[in-house]
């Protein structure tokens, strides 16, 4: 038992050290140049993403393909969906940075809009994280039925959040 305790303690300490080091040097979600916006915000094809995790599409494929082919295709679709979610995730991180930078502005209206954008972006990051977890579970078990509604509902909320983020315009 003692060796387990030693391993737990050293692992915990090591992970904490590494995590804090990365936070300290800005390793998590480090962005290059905020003003170079074009290179930071990636285009997100929302209809294509929605199509990839549409339960009806999935049901259609399930009914019309043999199970092994369905599993293979479903995994490929889910991997593509993960790319989309990660893209939204990265965009949200950029928007948080931009919003936080604008929040310090002296103009209260602009600051308030930026704060709204930051809040929505952080929520989008959180939702993306849950959606990613669900998508990874789906990849492991592509035949699972139960996760469909969960992903779909979360996706709906995610799109709504994305809408909120993009509706908030920076003057």
């Amino acid at each position: 038992m003692n060796i387990v305790i030693i391993v737990v303690a050293i692992t915990l300490a090591g992970m904490l050290g590494a995590g804090l080091y990365l936070v300290g040097v800005g390793g998590f979600g480090r962005l290059q140049n905020l003003n170079d916006g074009k290179s930071l915000i990636e285009f997100l094809d929302v209809p294509a993403f929605n199509n990839l995790i549409d339960p009806r599409e999935e049901e259609f494929l399930r009914e019309n393909l043999p199970p092994p082919a369905f599993r293979t295709i479903q995994r490929l679709r889910l991997r593509a969906a993960i790319e989309y979610v990660m893209c939204a995730n990265r965009n949200a991180a950029v928007l948080i940075r931009i919003g936080r930078s604008v929040s310090s502005a002296k103009n209260p209206q602009r600051s308030s809009q930026a704060q709204d954008m930051v809040n929505a972006s952080v929520q989008l990051r959180l939702l993306s994280f849950f959606v990613l977890c669900l998508l990874w579970v789906k990849i492991a078990f592509p035949g699972l039925h139960l996760a469909l509604t969960g992903v779909s509902n979360l996706h709906e909320r995610l799109v709504r959040q994305l809408g909120t983020v993009t509706r908030v315009t920076v003057p």
Partner: protein, 249 residues
């Protein structure tokens, strides 16, 4: 040599922590981080009392005073972790409640882990009081390290930005928590023979942590040039238009 090093590492603390307390008092930082301020004051009092008992060679009184201060310190350190959570999540209104939930559930999990670790530990110390004290300290370090780790992971998942001072406090705190966790574990397993070198390592780590805190409170804040938003460049409108178009289909 090791006695000299130990005294040097010990004696350097009061001026540094005094400087932190002075700075916090002058700038009224105690309003933002009251528990960290209380902790700094407690450390100064702790030094004065423990140093006195150490010098008059009253080992039993020293040990009991040390245990009492460890108990107070443990409460304050957990309080500082809560303060860090609050500081990191405060600017993000939409997920503030997640910060509290993370803290609550992580506390329950790591407290459970600490209890399991303490229950299954069989230390190498023949002096039972010291053995129990070390087991307790290690459990506390596990809770603190775990809570800090959850904060770091959560903030990286959510891309939250840390204020420089909060980051400084967390870095210092994380440094000595990680070193103490390893040191207490090794000390608990190997017994008294490792006491001297590990004590030096822990003291050195704590001194480094205090130096990080001094820097956090005395560093001149960087003036971040305000970002001039260039909608034409990163163009959120095109996102909006694409989404509206899709929704109206």
């Amino acid at each position: 040599m090791s006695t000299f090093a130990m005294y040097a590492l010990w004696l350097v603390l009061p001026p540094l922590q005094g400087a932190i307390a002075y700075r916090m008092w002058r700038r009224k930082n105690y309003r933002d981080c009251p528990i960290f301020f209380a902790y700094t004051i407690e450390q100064l009092a702790r030094f004065a009392i423990l140093f006195y008992w150490y010098q008059i060679h009253d080992r039993t009184t020293y040990l009991h005073a040390y245990a009492a201060f460890q108990a107070i310190e443990a409460i304050l350190q957990i309080g500082i972790v809560c303060e860090l959570y609050s500081d990191v999540f405060r600017p993000y209104e939409g997920i503030r409640h997640f910060g509290r939930s993370f803290l609550r559930w992580a506390s329950v999990f790591f407290l459970f882990l600490a209890i399991v670790v303490a229950a299954y530990s069989t230390g190498a110390d023949s002096y039972k009081f010291l053995g129990n004290l070390l087991a307790l300290e290690r459990s506390l370090e596990i809770v603190q390290a775990g809570l800090l780790l959850v904060l770091v992971v959560a903030s990286s998942i959510l891309a939250l930005q840390w204020k420089p001072r909060t980051l400084g406090i967390a870095l210092g705190f994380g440094l000595f928590t990680a070193v103490n966790l390893i040191a207490y574990t090794v000390r608990f397993e190997l017994g008294m023979s490792t006491q001297q070198p590990l004590s030096l390592v822990c003291n050195a780590a704590y001194d480094c942590a205090v130096l990080i805190w001094v820097r956090a409170f005395y560093a001149v804040p960087k003036v971040v040039p305000e970002l001039e938003p260039r909608p034409a460049d990163w163009d959120p409108h095109s996102w909006n238009e694409a989404l509206s178009e899709y929704l109206h289909r």
